[in-house]
């Protein structure tokens, strides 16, 4: 769980968006699951104090390597850019509960911005000879998507649709629009005329959605899926202290039979059933 991971590769993918790739070799790859994350100690002093959570984006068990992608947003990620290949990083992980890996049927990965990162690991983990996988990804513009992982999607030969805010790649607008029309099409073409009841069970469908991105997008994705009766798993973000479930810092709220309950994003998540999440309450 606590591991000194060796830095195999650390490179800047895009200066404009401050996107970096970090490949670590160590104990974590052996047990990592898609959708799990690691908690990194950045710097040797007490400032910044807390670890930083990053999703495990790729898992190479054979080589014992995991790949992380990160965007520089604040002090911690800025300091992280200083670490050098061959040095080692103090990493806690793999942490959390990841995505459900479908054994068959159809899997739709819906990503907003850097929300694509944890989805890579799921994409690579499913048996694509049995599961039909498709990616829908929304981002600012073509450059961002190219830097943040389009080459990986192409390399893996997975079908994808893009949406960009400026229309420089794919459809202009939000990824939720892509999802909406696609689900509508699928449903109609499959002539599945279930009434679109929110909360329809997963059994109704061979299609399932896994989504990651900003909270507003995840809420919209969940609503669309619920309307179409498609099960959806969402990967949440929350400010974390311990990362292991001890501090209760990172909770979300879920609906249960006995009312609203808190769940720890780092322990019971970061992946949750979208329909259980209470989106409009802090």
């Amino acid at each position: 769980m606590l591991s000194q991971e060796k830095i195999i590769c650390h490179r800047l993918l895009d200066p404009r968006y401050g996107l970096y790739q970090l490949v670590l070799r160590g104990k974590i790859a052996a047990t990592a699951q898609p959708g799990q994350f690691v908690h990194l100690k950045v710097g040797a002093t007490t400032d910044p104090l807390l670890r930083r959570p990053l999703s495990i984006a790729r898992i190479d068990r054979a080589r014992g390597e995991i790949t992380l992608f990160y965007r520089v947003v604040g002090r911690g990620t800025a300091l992280l850019t200083d670490v050098k290949e061959q040095e080692s990083l103090n990493v806690l992980g793999p942490l959390g509960k990841g995505f459900t890996k479908p054994a068959e049927g159809e899997l739709l990965l819906v990503a907003g911005g850097i929300g694509i990162f944890p989805l890579f690991s799921l994409l690579e983990a499913v048996d694509r000879s049995r599961v039909k996988v498709k990616v829908m990804w929304g981002g600012e513009n073509r450059q961002f998507l190219e830097s943040a992982g389009l080459p990986i999607l192409r390399e893996l030969g997975v079908e994808y649709e893009a949406a960009t805010l400026d229309g420089s790649l794919g459809q202009k607008g939000l990824v939720t629009a892509l999802l909406e029309s696609s689900l509508h099409r699928t449903r109609t073409s499959q002539e599945m005329h279930h009434s679109a009841v929110a909360g329809a069970g997963p059994k109704d469908s061979v299609l399932q959605v896994a989504a990651c991105g900003p909270r507003g997008m995840l809420k919209a994705v969940t609503e669309i899926c619920c309307r179409q009766g498609v099960p959806v798993e969402v990967c949440l973000e929350e400010r974390m202290a311990c990362g292991v479930g001890a501090c209760l810092g990172c909770v979300c709220t879920v609906k249960t039979a006995t009312g609203h309950k808190r769940r720890r994003v780092c322990a019971e998540g970061p992946v949750f059933d979208g329909r259980e999440v209470v989106w409009d309450e802090g």
Binding site: L50, E238, A241, C242, V244, A246, C247
Partner: protein, 314 residues
């Protein structure tokens, strides 16, 4: 040379003087994956209230320079679930368990103390009169000597377990509070709880924490905590559990020299889950190096007029 790490604080007998702090260690299970909790002096579990609490909305955590703010708001399963679900699991950890209790009235404190069994793995009760993250209650009790004393008095009547009074640092005169709890039946004093603080999110132009304010912990507060331990040691006779920013054995020694008989590790668990173990080992090595046979000899040394280690100076 063998160093005796055992420690006795009033009725609380510990294998070694290193505990974990309430609210930073769940009910122990999360860190039991990292090491055998029986190696610790003991653990303090998350603060329990009479009723279950869902706590504050998120964000609950904000990082600050060498510290963190938290506003968890005492989320906990409540007394009943604690007794039925968590206590049996705690029994299996084979470590001294300190149960931290918070009430919103004197009556609630009394009920909690009465309900927690005297013959179980529970080694002591820590009476939290200092939680800054809940409205009407918690900290209010701990910022006034009179009401701090009352909480201890009512709790004392309900249990034979050693009572630890957990003090708030958000006070003008920590010594007055310490004396009040001493006079009202506390066996041990623990300090400090968190300092009240806040951050503002520049992007949103609003307080960063959903609860507006939160409790500051971590290395940033250590100088304040050491000072309060030092002051309380001078003024009261009760043994002290020191905490506030302890991250390594040097920090633990600092608290013991200031007057703490035992220490609690809080925020440091989040950064280094092995911190408590490393501190136990470091304390032992330090005693050996300085020629102390027992870790108890460190307690309060900094109060001596002469320099205790003068012989070793050059």
């Amino acid at each position: 040379m063998k160093v005796d790490l055992t420690t006795r604080l009033a009725g609380l007998q510990l294998k070694n003087p290193v505990l974990t702090a309430s609210g930073t260690f769940g009910f122990g299970e999360e860190y039991a994956r990292f090491y055998d909790l029986a190696l610790l002096g003991g653990i303090t579990v998350k603060g329990i209230t009479l009723e279950p609490r869902i706590g504050n909305p998120v964000p609950r955590i904000a990082e600050t320079p060498s510290g963190i703010l938290n506003a968890v708001g005492l989320e906990n399963p409540g007394l009943e679930a604690f007794l039925s679900t968590y206590l049996p699991r705690l029994e299996k950890l084979k470590t001294a368990v300190i149960v931290n209790i918070s009430g919103f009235s004197l009556e609630e404190y009394a009920k909690l103390a009465a309900a927690l069994p005297e013959n179980s793995c529970i080694a002591a009760l820590e009476v939290n009169i200092s939680c800054p993250n809940i409205k009407d209650g918690g900290m209010a009790f701990g910022t006034d000597p009179q009401s701090a004393g009352e909480v201890l008095a009512v709790t004392r009547k309900q249990t034979k377990l050693p009572l630890i009074a957990k003090l708030s640092p958000n006070v003008t005169d920590i010594v007055a509070i310490a004396k009040a709890v001493e006079e009202n039946g506390a066996d041990i004093i623990s300090l400090i709880n968190t300092l009240l603080g806040m951050r503002i999110d520049l992007d949103r132009g609003r307080p960063l924490l959903a609860n507006t304010m939160g409790g500051l912990s971590g290395p940033a507060v250590r100088p304040v905590a050491v000072r309060m331990v030092y002051q309380v040691y001078q003024a009261v006779r009760l043994p002290i559990i020191g905490m506030g920013g302890i991250s390594c054995w040097q920090d633990a020694v600092e608290f013991m020299l200031a007057g703490a008989s035992a220490v609690s590790v809080g925020t440091a668990n989040f950064i280094n889950p092995l911190a408590p173990l490393e501190i136990i080992n470091g304390l032992e090595a330090y005693c050996r190096q300085k020629g102390y046979h027992s870790v108890k000899e460190l307690v309060g040394l900094a109060h001596r007029k002469e320099e205790p280690f003068d012989e070793e100076k050059r």
